[in-house]
């Protein structure tokens, strides 16, 4: 299992976990404090580096927050490009998670197939944005790079090529006997518990709560309809099923965005400094991310606070670990799709 830098102290009796206490803080970088020295324009680069997997959506959310403060309207083409890169990011993240989950279950070949498909997405991201992991393509007022007609066609072709592969892959995750035995009935979080624990994203939707911030209409989602994918099981299988469903949903969103892509400029000029307070939320692959920004009219923000989805889902992980079998701990830790670098910032 590829480890996240989280330490869990487990109190066990025979093979049963009685209590779990997490220790984090090993990769706390104090990124929020860097607003004191980095001006708001260059802070996009810091926001993108909060996490390597949700990198683009971190940058996008930050840019949206500053644009909200400064009353800047990103051009329509930029919003569609952000949507495409955001959904490519989501496919990449879910394939990465599927591979890690397969690895945690000891299903090495499934892990390798998941990451082989992930490589195709990373190749597309690299060819369109310039980087495999840190895109560097979002900026305040729009985006830095455009997609030519050939690039858009290559993205479309990749979606057509990858979709049957995704069907074969998800069929194994959802129907194979060994994955079912490892996932079904493991880590049940009821709908009420998920709500009370403040869960977000696939962890919340896997318990039957149909909440997805893409329905609020940011980026191009005011013109592309998104229906939250949910599962009623509330167990690790349900959360896996939600992520599998979201793979195909993202493929479809990308197709729609490519089809409806408006022409025009990709960025507008940014003048002046931000002033005021704003709270912006977007839907990362792991769930809702909240950006709280406070500005005072200078080049440096007064406060920059990020509440990442893993931070919200840690409570559900600890709840699921109580009373579980020791052998299920890796699956339960992974079931919330933890990203500790996001959590600690």
């Amino acid at each position: 299992m590829l480890p996240e830098p989280v330490h869990l102290d487990l109190v066990v009796e025979d093979e049963r976990v009685l209590e779990a206490r997490p220790s984090i803080g090993f990769v706390h970088r104090g990124l929020e404090k860097l607003v004191e020295t980095k001006d708001f324009i260059e802070f996009v680069y810091v926001a993108e580096r909060i996490c390597g997997i949700c990198s683009f959506i971190h940058g996008q959310t930050y840019c949206q927050a500053i644009e909200e403060l400064m009353k800047i309207e990103a051009p329509p083409r930029a919003r569609y490009l952000r949507t495409i890169w955001g959904e490519l990011s989501r496919i990449h993240s879910h394939l990465l998670w599927l591979g890690l989950m397969a690895d945690a279950m000891g299903f090495e070949s499934l892990f390798m197939h998941s990451w082989r498909l992930r490589e195709k997405i990373l190749n597309v991201i690299e060819s369109t944005a310039g980087g495999r992991v840190i895109f560097g393509s979002c900026k305040i007022g729009g985006v830095r790079r455009d997609l030519s007609a050939e690039a858009m066609e290559s993205v479309r072709a990749c979606m057509d090529e990858i979709e049957p592969d995704l069907r074969r892959l998800t069929k194994v995750f959802l129907n194979d006997g060994s994955t079912q035995r490892r996932l079904r009935g493991v880590g049940v979080v009821t709908k009420q518990q998920a709500h009370d624990l403040g869960c977000v994203g696939p962890t919340l939707r896997g318990s039957g709560v149909a909440e997805d911030l893409r329905t609020t209409g940011y980026a191009a989602f005011d013109e592309i309809l998104v229906t939250p994918i949910t599962s009623q099981e509330g167990d690790s299988y349900g959360r896996c099923a939600v992520r599998c469903g979201e793979l195909f949903q993202s493929v479809e969103i990308i197709r729609q965005a490519l089809k409806k892509m408006p022409s025009g400029e990709i960025a507008v000029k940014v003048n002046g400094n931000p002033n005021g307070e704003v709270i912006v939320r977007t839907e990362q692959p792991r769930g809702e991310v909240v950006y709280c920004l406070k500005a005072n009219g200078t080049r440096n923000l007064q406060r920059f606070r990020v509440r990442t989805p893993t931070f919200a889902n840690l409570g559900a992980m600890l709840q699921a670990l109580q009373g579980c079998d020791l052998a299920d701990v890796p699956v339960l830790v992974l079931t919330i799709d933890p990203c500790i670098s996001c959590t600690e910032r």
Binding site: S23, I24, G25, G30, V35, T37, C292, R303, R305, G315
Partner: protein, 127 residues
């Protein structure tokens, strides 16, 4: 899209009753944010109900850095409260899970608090 901020200013004494009221109304706790001001911490508790975000805001003076924990109402709040305790130096009383200052391992204690040093200046490689 425009996001209007719905902020209710409260006191530390009202915190528990206001948060309990939010819970009774079916609100989800979204986040707790602490900001260091000139003479106090500004705490913002954000709640979501059917997509609408509302906030409770209070100030805690540096001279009396204690607030009650809301983790008895929202169990997940202990994560935010331990974070506030470790990074800002706030004393949150009655947390259901208290890490006693060991939630974050930082070399600078209370790195976001009023007495913390400023963030490091940029370093450049020699030309």
């Amino acid at each position: 899209m425009s996001h209007q901020l719905y902020i209710e200013i409260i006191t530390a004494g009202d915190l528990i009753s206001k948060v309990a009221s939010k819970k009774a109304n079916g609100c989800r706790l979204v986040q707790i944010c602490a900001t260091t001001l000139a003479a106090a911490w500004e705490l913002t508790y954000s709640f979501d109900l059917d997509g609408l975000l509302t906030h409770l805001r209070l100030e805690v003076p540096f001279g009396d850095p204690r607030i009650p924990s809301v983790s008895g109402i929202y169990p997940c709040a202990f994560l935010y409260e331990n974070e506030m305790n470790d990074l800002f130096g706030l004393k949150v009383e009655g947390m259901t899970v208290d890490f006693h200052g060991s939630f974050y391992n930082t070399s600078v204690k209370h790195a976001f608090g009023p007495k913390a040093p400023a963030a490091p200046a940029l370093t450049r490689l020699a030309d």
